[in-house]
């Protein structure tokens, strides 16, 4: 947001290495051959199938990607982890099971476990012999997880803790063998514990009846004087919040990748249906309004895909710099990942909302058939919805995005206020002309202007609210929306630029078309959010001046969106599915 970025700096799916492509192929084949045929069984809650599939996935190494080699893991990059998540997400029910197991299930041990805990549990988790789960939420505290009621009390002989309380919404609880459970020691010190399924005093409640992801297990966990050995404290007593927040931060980029995978599947089905369904004497794929939907679905998939891989590319670059042999490795790895917490939240929110949009349009394309269970659109529509709720609701994530940004600016990590001041100084003069004369000058202008809008409204809002801005949630969320759109627009455009240097003709034009669609819609959203902030944070003459400045910044060359959409749709229909080129 503070500087411009060049295409060579970002990682894109076109940069996948030979190895990453092969990993994608294995995951894709696993999804097609093993997961797909078993969907009906898993939907009807035959979890023996899910259990078996986790073991098969583990045989291929799909549960060991982020685990260090020292414990039998593969220690691969986050790009590979995302590629796998995207492919497995063809079916959300199993993707949730797998994601909870190999993500929030075993990563707490990877990042926070001591040597003995890692040796004891990691090999069994990555082989799929034991399934992992993560028990943070409770009936009365979800977003507000630190405010949990579960309690832990050390036994008089100091050998074990007794846990009491109830956890709710625990993915994989129906068959998991190991739970990371959060409870307060002595009613105050928030702490994580590794709790084995057969611990005395632990029982699992009945399955929830869910709107979607019915192919995953979700149950409450009842802790009734549950006896946990003292050595099963994970991390430090009273430092459970570090684990709780980091594990969710770490997982979010993968949720984004899964949303991309789910959306691709929904688009593939929609395209196929549109090519077969006839109305008014022709296939509905011939209609402009249907094509417009397909185009926008494809462009938003392209955009979130660009955001996901740009983000994991950044994370991998940071992780690569970490000295793997050092004793502090897992702490440094965690820190490197934390550095990108804002991007991870952006990816989570943007991709989950993208997925909801795509599955909604998919139902629409199916018409009445979109509303019945015999066709795939209906389940996918229900399955998508959870992504805006778990791994931090999208509201909480919006607050994280704006909050982190302002916090980093306040403690000097980001030169935000300097940038704001510079912008304010020059804003009343003529806007600096973009020197860029490349073929992407128009697109670059969009991004440069939206970054100025971002600085402008952040400046106006912080002048008005000062420190109290954290209390103005609507303003914070609007700032987050602007930041997210900038990241989306820039990621989509940089990728198109990068592709244009490698591809030619229709292949290069397609990504540029999709980037332009993203730019146009992004600019609209940013303008709305900016107007909302300015109208709240300024009044009378100041407001009028501010809105005039905003108008200048939103004045960009418009694209012919109808023509662009038709071209994108033609490409999607020709390919039968989403294709970036």
């Amino acid at each position: 947001m503070l500087q411009s970025c060049i295409p060579q700096e970002i990682f894109t799916p076109e940069d996948f290495t030979e190895q990453q492509q092969l990993i994608g192929k294995t995951a894709e084949e696993f999804a097609v051959n093993e997961i797909d045929p078993n969907i009906p069984k898993m939907e009807s809650k035959d979890f023996s199938v899910s259990r078996e599939l986790i073991r098969k996935a583990a045989d291929l190494g799909l549960c060991a990607v982020e685990v260090p080699e020292a414990y039998g893991g593969l220690e691969m990059d986050k790009i590979s982890a995302s590629i796998i998540a995207e492919r497995i997400a063809k079916y959300a029910g199993f993707a949730t099971t797998w994601g909870a197991h190999s993500g929030i299930g075993l990563l707490p041990i990877v990042y926070f476990g001591n040597e003995a805990q890692k040796r004891k549990y990691l090999p069994k988790l990555i082989s799929g012999e034991v399934i992992g789960a993560y028990a943070l939420s409770e009936a009365s505290s979800g977003s507000d997880a630190l405010n949990c009621r579960a309690r832990a009390q050390l036994s008089p002989d100091g050998k074990h803790y007794l846990l009491n309380g109830e956890k709710m919404w625990i993915t994989n609880a129906g068959f998991a063998g190991l739970f990371t459970v959060f409870a307060k020691v002595g009613g105050e010190r928030f702490t994580a514990f590794l709790v084995e399924r057969n611990s005395p005093g632990l029982s699992i409640g009945p399955e929830e009846h869910k709107m979607g992801i019915r192919g995953s297990s979700t149950c409450p966990l009842l802790l009734n004087d549950c006896k946990v050995p003292a050595e099963n404290v994970l991390g430090e007593i009273g430092k459970g919040h570090i684990i709780a927040f980091n594990i969710l931060n770490i997982g979010r980029f993968k949720l984004g990748a899964m949303c991309v995978g789910g959306a691709k599947e929904a688009l593939r089905n929609s395209v196929q249906y549109a090519k077969e369904r006839k109305a008014f004497g022709t296939v509905i794929a011939a209609f402009g309004l249907v094509r417009e939907k397909l185009a926008r679905m494809a462009a938003s998939i392209y955009t979130s895909e660009s955001m996901v891989y740009r983000t994991v590319g950044l994370m991998d670059a940071a992780l690569f710099a970490v000295d793997r042999a050092g004793s502090q490795t897992s702490i440094e790895v965690r820190k490197a990942i934390e550095e990108y917490a804002i991007e991870c939240s952006i990816v989570k929110v943007w991709a989950s909302e993208m997925l909801d949009y795509v599955v909604d349009e998919s139902v629409q394309i199916y018409g009445g058939y979109g509303f019945v269970e015999e066709y795939p659109a209906e389940r996918v529509y229900r399955d998508a919805r959870i992504n805006r709720i778990f791994e931090g609701t999208n509201e909480i994530n919006r607050l994280i995005i704006a909050g982190f940004l302002l916090k980093r600016a306040a403690n000097g990590e980001l030169p935000l206020s300097t940038a704001i001041k510079k912008f304010m100084d020059e804003v009343l003069g003529p806007l600096p002309l973009q020197e860029n004369t490349s073929s992407f000058a128009g697109e670059i202008q969009y991004i440069a202007n939206t970054k100025r809008i971002g600085l402008f409204v952040a400046g106006v809002a912080s002048q008005k609210y000062m420190q109290a801005i954290q209390e103005e949630q609507e303003v914070m969320a609007a700032i987050a929306d602007i930041v997210m759109e900038i990241y989306a627009m820039e990621s989509a455009t940089l990728r198109a630029q990068k592709m244009s240097s490698k591809l030619s003709g229709a292949a290069a034009a397609n990504s540029l078309d999709m980037a332009r669609l993203c730019l146009a819609h992004g600019m609209e959203k940013i303008e709305n959010s900016a107007r909302k902030i300015l109208s709240a944070a300024s009044e009378d003459d100041a407001l009028r001046t501010n809105l005039a400045i905003l108008r200048r910044l939103t004045k960009v060359e418009p694209f012919n969106l109808i023509a662009i959409s038709r071209q994108i749709a033609a490409r999607v229909l020709e390919r039968g599915q989403y294709a970036p080129n």
Binding site: I23, L60, G61
Partner: protein, 260 residues
């Protein structure tokens, strides 16, 4: 047992194809995959190795992109790979290709050489057969099963109409392998990781100069023109008495449409 598997990278089966400017072949900008029968040939070789021990080596001829086929084979368990690397190989006919492969094989003998039954792009079904001829060793085509038998092997070949043939043959030999004869394994992530460190030898077209001196120009077979079949409809009314009409129909079904 030392087995060489010849593998080719071909355009993906469901990729939309476009003709090149000259109308002689398809454009390069499509997605590629392993030729299907070759994947089964590799699987069969790996199974033979698991049963009898030995070594599996994979070879491909093609542009840089074709290396992906070799990496995948290495990830699945092949021990090493040879890449005849040049864009020109894409235009080689079966004879030229067999000459290039034979040149490599003459320098390093193998007990068994597998090819796929045919390639999904050109569909010649000739490369393996010509290769055997050039090497002066026996071959069997459309092979479905391989067992060792004395010093040699016994193979099951697929004939038409549900018939099979069993053939005993000495080693070394060339076998062209049928699709679907076994269950393909996945490349595990560990295998993929290890594949990076397995040997992959590159051989340039120049090094094969004496075998294929003229490159693709040495082809005996030439594609004049490639085109998308025109869809046409043609309705014909058959005249005559019912008996005559029936006779005409039967004749047409037998000789023109050839379905009975």
């Amino acid at each position: 047992m030392k087995i060489l598997v010849c593998m080719k990278q071909v355009p993906q089966k469901d990729a939309p194809l476009k003709l090149n400017a000259g109308g002689t072949w398809i454009r390069e900008d499509v997605s590629y995959e392993v030729n299907e029968p070759d994947a089964y040939a590799l699987e069969e070789a790996l199974r033979q190795k698991e049963k009898n021990g030995g070594e599996v080596i994979v070879i491909t001829a093609g542009p840089g992109r074709a290396q992906q086929v070799l990496r995948e084979a290495l990830a699945k368990g092949a021990d090493r790979a040879i890449h005849l690397e040049d864009d020109a190989f894409v235009g080689f006919d079966a004879l030229n290709m067999a000459r290039a492969l034979a040149a490599v094989i003459k320098a390093e003998p193998f007990d068994l050489i597998f090819t796929g039954l045919q390639s999904d792009d050109y569909g010649y079904a000739q490369t393996g057969v010509i290769l055997a001829e050039l090497l002066g060793i026996p071959h069997a085509t459309i092979v479905m099963q391989i067992e060792s038998s004395g010093d040699g092997i016994r193979v099951k070949r697929e004939l038409e109409a549900g018939y099979f043939q069993f053939v005993e043959m000495p080693l070394p030999a060339v076998l062209t392998i049928q699709s679907g004869i076994n269950k393909l394994r996945y490349a595990t992530l560990l295998g993929i990781k290890q594949a990076k460190n397995k040997p992959l030898r590159k051989i340039t077209l120049a090094e094969l100069q004496s075998a294929v001196p003229a490159g693709a120009a040495g082809n005996l077979q030439k594609i004049e023109r490639l085109y998308v079949p025109q869809k046409t409809k043609n309705t014909e009314f058959i005249q005559g008495t019912p008996a005559e009409a029936a006779r005409t129909i039967v004749e047409k079904l037998r000789n023109e449409v050839r379905v009975i």
